[in-house]
């Protein structure tokens, strides 16, 4: 069970001096874990007693192996079931070929495009039997986490760092300098048992199934090392529902560091003069038909508006919590928006940790959700609704068949059914059967809502993009343009 226990969120704001190495302190689970066979590169040390670092590395590799096996099994079933996808045959074949290239193609080029220690994303080119693909790659070992040491009463920033000589990943920590982070991590640590109780109640599991977390991430409910997994799961859900607004993403082994990476295809466009770029508020003024003089072919039928509504629906389904404007990419040639960086999504459906009862809260933080709030009459396009209906009806049919089969001949299992694949994905994220099923059923209910209402609900501003400045900015810009136009018209009139 790896559900993160919620609490206050820390935020690193302090300086980042050179890391001060400290012996990593293994968690209670790490210490009590049963002895198993050592990883392949650790066999040479079999004569020596296993150190905490060796144990950490062995468990990390085992966990990565299991995750990759499960993801490959999910993908095998998903791509085998391609016959039920809503796409045409050419598009199906294209996606299967692309997934294969991203997951198994030979890497022929790699460059770091982020900032080491902040945003170590790499751009890679893979060559497969069916062609080449450019993708952006995020390592599982790239998270910054926080750890409280009750003995020293210190809070540490903890990162993973590959030790080439020892051939293992090591935890490197430094004292957190930021006061707010210190306070919030200590609060989280003290409040953990209460939070575990809340989680156990919510998912109807014994509290023993919720381990105490050793380290916490920057976001509630998002466990350490799970961002690439959530990135992959968001892409797979997008594909299963036929929304097609997330660049295809796979999980892949990173053999040099025994790690797992998420590999997301780069958004490509057909017009070399207009590269894909991040969304700007002005884009949407045009799309919405709010720019005086540019109101033809705008509104909900505009292709960009369709993709924006689809992204908003997806963000509502997956509880997207980091969808600022910079994570919405605009393909200017196709007039289509894409959602990238979906790693902070699919968290538990609550964060309340005070008191006995779990309180469901809305975790959405999404600029697209906030934008469509302002267009309450806009609906999802027909094709998107068809995709959602196909998934929902097939699931309901399967659940009915399963129910009647239990009465007659015992349980049936159809591994290629959408809901089975969805639950498998959620097992990967929540690592608990009860939580995975509950989250899958909650998502199914939301799909039903979208089918019946044609769009995600209007969410209160406080629950979405906190700034509220996006729409304020849109309105200010709209107003300024209108005034300029009126002034210009008035000037022309006066001149005439």
């Amino acid at each position: 069970m790896a559900l993160a226990t919620p609490g206050s969120s820390p935020r690193k704001r302090g300086a980042l001096p050179l890391p001060r190495k400290r012996e990593p302190v293994p968690s209670a689970e790490e210490i009590q874990a049963p002895e198993k066979e050592a990883g392949e590169n650790l066999e040479a040390r079999e004569q020596k007693p296993e150190t905490p670092q060796d144990r950490y590395e062995r468990q990390r590799r085992e966990e990565n192996r299991q995750i990759l096996d499960r993801a490959q099994s999910i993908d095998q079933r998903y791509f085998t079931a391609a016959g039920s996808w809503p796409d045409n045959l050419d598009k199906k074949i294209e996606k299967i070929d692309l997934a294969e290239t991203l997951a198994y193609g030979e890497e022929i080029k790699r460059e770091l495009i982020g900032e080491q220690g902040f945003n170590a994303i790499t751009r890679r080119t893979y060559e497969g039997v069916n062609g080449t693909a450019v993708a952006y790659v995020k390592p599982r070992a790239g998270d910054l986490t926080y750890e409280y040491d009750p003995e020293t009463d210190e809070v540490y920033d903890v990162r993973q760092q590959w030790n080439e000589d020892a051939q293992r990943m090591e935890l490197v920590s430094e004292v957190t300098e930021d006061e707010y982070t210190q306070l919030s991590v200590k609060e989280w640590y003290k409040n953990q048992d209460n939070a575990r109780r809340v989680i156990a109640l919510h998912y109807e599991v014994p509290i023993d199934e919720i381990p105490r977390q050793k380290r916490m991430t920057e976001r509630l409910g998002i466990t350490e090392g799970s961002l690439p997994l959530r990135e992959y799961a968001a892409s797979r859900i997008d594909q299963m529902l036929g929304l097609d607004v997330v660049p295809l993403t796979v999980l892949r082994e990173e053999p040099e560091q025994h790690d797992i990476v998420s590999v997301q295809e780069a958004v490509k466009t057909t017009d070399p003069q207009r590269p894909p770029r991040v969304m700007t508020p002005n884009d949407f003024l045009f799309v919405a038909g709010r720019v005086p003089g540019f109101t033809e072919n705008t509104g909900p039928e505009h292709p960009a508006a369709k993709s924006m509504m689809r992204i908003a629906a997806l963000h509502w389904l997956i509880k997207s919590a980091d969808a600022h404007l910079g994570n919405v990419i605009y393909d200017q040639a196709a007039q289509k928006y894409y959602s990238i960086d979906n790693g902070v999504s699919l968290g538990p459906s609550f964060v309340e940790s005070e008191g006995e009862e779990p309180r469901s809260v809305n975790p959405h933080v999404s600029a697209p959700l906030e934008i469509v709030n302002d267009f309450p009459d806009w609906k999802l396009d027909d094709e998107a609704i068809e995709g959602l209906k196909r998934f929902y009806e097939e699931t309901m049919q399967y659940l009915k068949e399963r129910e009647s089969a239990v009465e007659e001949n015992g349980p049936i299992s159809r591994p290629d059914s959408g809901i089975k694949q969805l639950t498998s994905l959620f097992r990967l994220l929540y690592q608990n059967e009860s939580a995975a099923k509950k989250e899958a059923m909650e998502l199914l209910k939301k799909i039903s809502y979208l089918i019946h209402n044609g769009r995600p609900p209007i969410l209160e501003k406080a629950d979405t993009f906190e700034s509220g400045k996006l729409l304020d900015g849109l309105k200010t810009e709209e107003e300024a343009r209108r005034k300029r136009l009126e002034q210009s018209t008035a000037n022309e009139g006066a001149a005439a």
Binding site: S9, R11, R13, G14, A15, L16, I113, G114, E115, F118, N119, I121, R123, V134, Y136, E218, R219, A266, V267, K268, T269, D271, P272, Q273, R274, P275, P276, R277, V278, M279, T280, P281, N282, D283, A321, D322, H324, L325, G326, N327, I329, I340, D341, V365, F465, E466, S467, K469, L470, G473, E477
Partner: protein, 84 residues
């Protein structure tokens, strides 16, 4: 990163290759981040602030903190690094 006084934006072409001259984002006399050299659309996007709205959105007026947040918020389509 306390002394961060500038970051650079790297424009990309259609293939995702960095192209042209990196654009410097420094600090104005009042300590706020200077977005004036950025392409207009990107400048407007960043005026709304960067970073996570729940954990604390950082605005250009926050100066060095804003620059630090640019490095965190960077992605393959919006590339910022501390050195040109």
């Amino acid at each position: 990163m306390d002394n961060l006084t500038e970051v650079y934006y790297f424009p990309i072409d259609n293939e995702g290759n960095e192209t042209g001259t990196p654009v410097r984002i420094g600090l104005n006399d009042d300590g706020s981040a200077d977005l004036s050299a950025l392409p207009e659309g990107l400048g407007k996007t960043l005026e709304a602030g960067v970073g996570d709205p729940v954990l604390g959105r950082v605005m250009p007026k926050d100066g060095a903190r804003f620059l630090e947040e640019l490095l965190r918020s960077a992605n393959p389509y919006m590339r910022f690094r501390s050195k040109a």
